[in-house]
């Protein structure tokens, strides 16, 4: 039994369905920002997105080509490892499945890489099949730079650091390689429902 914090009652969120909050999370209406360094500002002229690594030929798109691809609008709950969750966030983007269309690969892992040097690693199975997107709109508006614009990865079923901001490409790999936060003490997989925050979880 954890110790009782004498006199603590908390501000219980009665308006939020508790079954939508993973353990240790609270709901917020704000959209907090967490980044390890300065926000990069890449102009759309210089922006491209590349799928590379363990595939025959890398595929690459300019910004115009990217936003001309079939897109999806998805509404999902997101969960940050720093304890906040935001329910019913709406994003527009291209599914990773669409980006991988026609590629042959035996890879089982992906690493997303970003402007600013950030990386994060995920099993391939966690970004296909309706689980991962490269999103460029939030709530119908272009994605703000501080929230990852022009485009960020969106993998809402994992802690939100896996939804890499300022994403510029994904590399497919046979071997799993820890990304940025995964090398600094955060869990390699990051399932919020199992509260996989840190290495020791």
């Amino acid at each position: 039994m954890p110790p009782i914090s004498r006199g603590f009652r908390g501000r219980r969120q009665t308006e939020v369905d508790p079954s939508r909050l993973p353990p240790g999370q609270y709901a917020t209406n704000d959209f907090p920002v967490l980044s390890a360094g300065p926000t990069p500002h890449t102009s759309l002229d210089e922006w491209s997105f590349t799928v590379g690594g363990a595939v025959g030929d890398a595929k690459s798109w300019t910004w115009e080509e990217f936003v001309a691809m079939p897109s999806e609008v998805v509404t999902r709950d997101i969960h940050c490892v720093t304890k906040w969750s935001k329910l019913d966030t709406t994003w527009t983007g291209v599914s990773v499945e669409t980006l991988l269309d026609g590629l042959e690969t035996s890879a089982e892992f992906v690493t997303a890489w970003c402007d600013g040097g950030y990386t994060t690693n995920l099993p391939l199975a966690d970004v296909v099949d309706g689980k991962g997107w490269v999103a460029y709109e939030y709530a119908g508006e272009p994605l703000d730079p501080e929230h990852g614009g022009p485009a960020r990865l969106l993998v809402p079923h994992l802690y939100f650091w896996k939804s890499a901001k300022w994403v510029r490409g994904i590399n497919l790999a046979e071997q799993d390689e820890p990304g940025f936060w995964e090398s600094y003490g955060y869990h390699n997989y990051g399932d919020p429902w199992k509260e996989q925050r840190y290495w020791s979880d």
Binding site: P2, P3, F8, R11, T28, G37, W84, G116, Y184
Partner: protein, 227 residues
Amino acid sequence: MRVETPQAKTLVLDVPDWPGHLPGQHVDVRLTAEDGYQSERSYSIASAPGTADLELTVERIDDGEVSPWLTEEAQPGDQFELRGPVGGYFVWDATLEGPVLLVAGGSGLVPLMAILRHHENTGSSADLRLLLSARALEDVLYRSELERFRDVVHLTLTREQPPPEWNGWSRRIDADMLRDVGPGADQHPHVYVCGPTPFVEEAARLLVELGHLPAAVHTERFGPSGG
């Protein structure tokens, strides 16, 4: 417990089996109500490694859930759960070579204070400077302790003039101020910026404009829903 400002207190904690920490790291605090309801938030560690007690400085967020209890309700002898230390990136190691620039907005000073204290305790010869932005003098954490570091601490207050004994300004942070504080980008300092999100966004943008490598600029942000 020590009162730091009208909004902030330092909690001195006796943590059994504390494994030690690096300056800049934080902990997760979990409070449990009598009926089992729990709430968790993260707080930066203010104390330097190797000191007897673990110290957290907590600013009260009025509509927060955990900080009002920590700052208003908690009494000596009360218990809660603590997890950590957490975070391996926003840290300064005394064995790192090269100068250090700390840029703090408001209560973003807390993890940077751990770095400043560690720098002093280890007798580090690294050229270290701190730029602190606060609204008013009464909002400055650790004010009397900072007076000892006056030659490396620069203070800018956004709502009043700093007292004459301080290196200081009365305006928001800008490029000229960062240039005056130094060390310049040509000396490749390790830079640590901590504060509310708009402050960190602006400071980090200015630092990159001044030529600091983005990879040398470590940031930690306090969102509006902290607390």
